[in-house]
Symmetry: C2
Subunit: 415 residues, 2 copies
């Protein structure tokens, strides 16, 4: 049965009642609060939930009404999967019950009138590297005489920790980073603005659960720990990264900024997007085994927009490692996860040129410029350029579920 | 002039009135609170500061009395360098003024009666790799046919992000991690407990300041941003690390646990420990340039105790990169730091065998077992082993400044 809502939702909207992502918004000088997006409005939850006596579940450390009255999603993340389910059912009920319209409609706020804020406090940020096509492209460019994938790649989801403190919300300006870079033909590094500033189109997973030190989270518990999904642009200064990353991995080439979408799509809204991951070419160790009855491949279609030209449409369903496997791997050594942890998929690239999720790959390390709609040619980012990532997923009854967007404009370096 | 205190301090104590580290303690069922260590007591600050009307400086978001009444050092870290200075002067005045004894002495709590807690909430955790001797030892073991140092090593302080959520306080048991490991002669990885569990003896720097995105912190501002120093044991599963770390760096081989000392030594207590760093063999880029008038090499002597045998005394003064250079590097791309950020030096190893700060080096990758006082031989850690790191520094008038200890015992794997 298709649910219908009394709230205004344009016919082609990807933000109908089957979606209902969460974000943090403010209007004018008011303080930020938690909202749910429906169509082109944010529903202000706190005043409605506070007066509704029917919502039964309480999260730890206070009720749901308290959690949504906060200036971030932090308390809602910590409230856990039963609370997420109750809240989603309550919001869905509110928006689909015609009798609630008069009470609730005054709390719809046009998105055009609001400012969006960083939706939650990032605890730890991990970035994976789980697209086979991306990893192979990088291998072919940088190690042309070796096999494109390194020996560990098909055995475990390679990943590393990034900087949590520089994860910023969509719309934040990105200042071109300065740093050390050395071309292979230079004898010593020089200091200056990055000359190879790039994007990475990724999908991020926002954790709300917490395990105990020494107790891994099995892949089967994925939905109990993951609140929802964000779009991620992992801005990358390739020249800085290239000089610094051996042997301990990327550091300043990444840590200047990572942008995430303002709206977090609940995992429950992506039920129809679940697909089997790609066929495995190697046996997997037990803790990474696929469960064909509970697949966590996700059929999300991404879109990379460079100054108004869509230059790529990376298919997330092609990712070799699923987010459930990434979570199991990340904790198999006994490491804890906490509410607010964010982990990203790694650059999403498909098999085709127009499915590549980084400009490094799209321009083949700068050797094949990309033509934009205005006729200009690009290899890496120029000052003033704007990149917007969008994504959507199949929903119930043929509707699309929008994952919003993450956008950022490049500002000149300050060195 | 040597300051003397009315508080009981044993003659050989490294915790006299020139030291005064901060920590978070509790007694019985009481809630944790901020204390200062003097001799073998913790001075309970909150009740004393609350009634003292003379302390002038207020930190942001509340006064110092409020900050020390909290269950962590978080608010004190955020209060900034003027507040740190005022508080240290006030505590020093209290402990050296005989007229204050009757008021303050009831608030001395024997350390034997207290439990120590994680002193602050770790925001981002970065681990550097700044000992030339350690990096060269690792290079000789793993790349015997290549130069021991990689090309970037003398140009920048190599570092990477670690897991903030698994930084634990001294005394926390360390569960042997499980994970994938593959010896070079094996065709595929296997899963199981780490067989090469190691330590890394390091010194950590705790940040209290915050910069704005895009505005680097110069090395000269080091003391405005760094509150104090902790001892760090960066537990490392070498077999897991070795299989996973190419190309994105260490991940699960490190993220299961990192232990820090319970007492944070104020930077101001280490004024007499400041020394020139080692002679530079390469020109440094401007942002990393040494200022001979304001050196931030630190003459700390570390001690590695393995089941009661001191197996190594790593000299921190031999570190090639200083903590001021590390901070400048970490932010030169515009990345922010925040109160609660922790960055560690990397394994401290000197030139001599008995100065090596990891068992990987002490046992030369397991080929030269270490003999303990009970006659037993060790290469890597066995279940039940306890490792304790200690350190001290020169203080005024020949006294030593103790940096406390960080200890942990290995518990069996759970896989």
């Amino acid at each position: 049965m298709t649910l219908s809502t009394w709230a205004p939702v344009p016919a082609d909207s990807e933000f109908g009642v089957a979606n209902l992502p969460y974000g943090v918004f403010s209007r004018g000088e008011e303080r930020p609060r938690v909202g749910v997006r429906i169509g082109n409005n944010a529903l202000d939850l706190a005043p409605l939930l506070a007066r509704d006596h029917e919502i039964p579940v309480q999260g730890p450390g206070g009720g749901l009404a308290e959690a949504v009255a906060a200036e971030s999603l932090d308390a809602l993340l910590a409230a856990g999967p039963q609370a997420w389910k109750s809240l989603r059912e309550w919001v869905t009920g509110l928006l689909t019950d015609p009798a609630k319209e008069s009470e609730a409609s005054p709390h719809l706020v046009p998105l055009a009138d609001v400012r969006m804020h960083m939706p939650f406090t990032v605890a730890d940020y991990v970035d994976f590297y789980s697209s086979e096509h991306h990893a192979a492209n990088v291998g072919k460019m940088f190690r042309p005489d070796a096999p494109p994938l390194l020996p560990n790649w098909k055995h475990l989801p390679v990943g590393y920790h990034g900087r949590a403190g520089t994860v910023v919300v969509s719309g934040t300006e990105i200042i071109r980073p300065c740093g050390q870079r050395k071309a292979p033909d230079e004898s010593a590094p020089t200091f200056g603005p990055s000359r190879r500033l790039d994007i990475e189109a990724e999908v991020g997973f926002v954790i709300g659960g917490a395990n105990r030190l020494g107790e891994p989270v099995p892949a089967s518990a994925f939905a109990d720990y993951v609140f929802g999904v964000a779009l991620v642009n992992d801005w990358s200064a390739r020249d800085i990264q290239n000089w610094e990353y051996v042997p301990l991995g990327p550091f300043l080439g990444k840590s200047f900024a990572t942008s995430i979408s303002a709206w977090i799509t609940p995992l429950a809204a992506l039920e129809q997007a679940r697909v089997q991951p790609p066929k495995r070419t190697h046996d997997l160790l037990d803790y990474l085994a696929d469960d064909p009855d509970q697949p966590w491949g996700l059929d999300l279609t991404l879109e990379v927009d460079w100054n108004g030209t869509v230059v790529s449409r990376p298919p997330f369903a092609s990712m070799y490692w699923t987010a459930a496997q990434q979570l199991a791997h990340m904790t198999v050594n006994g490491a804890t996860v906490r509410p607010g942890d964010l982990y990203a998929s790694g650059t999403v690239s498909g098999t085709e040129v127009h499915e590549r999720g980084s400009f490094l790959e799209l321009s083949w390390s700068g050797s094949e410029p990309v033509r934009l709609a205005d006729g200009s040619l690009r290899t890496f980012l120029e000052d003033g350029d704007t990149v917007t990532l969008r994504a959507s997923a199949p929903g119930p009854d043929g509707v699309r579920i929008g994952l919003g967007e993450v956008t950022g404009q490049i500002r000149p370096a300050r060195c």
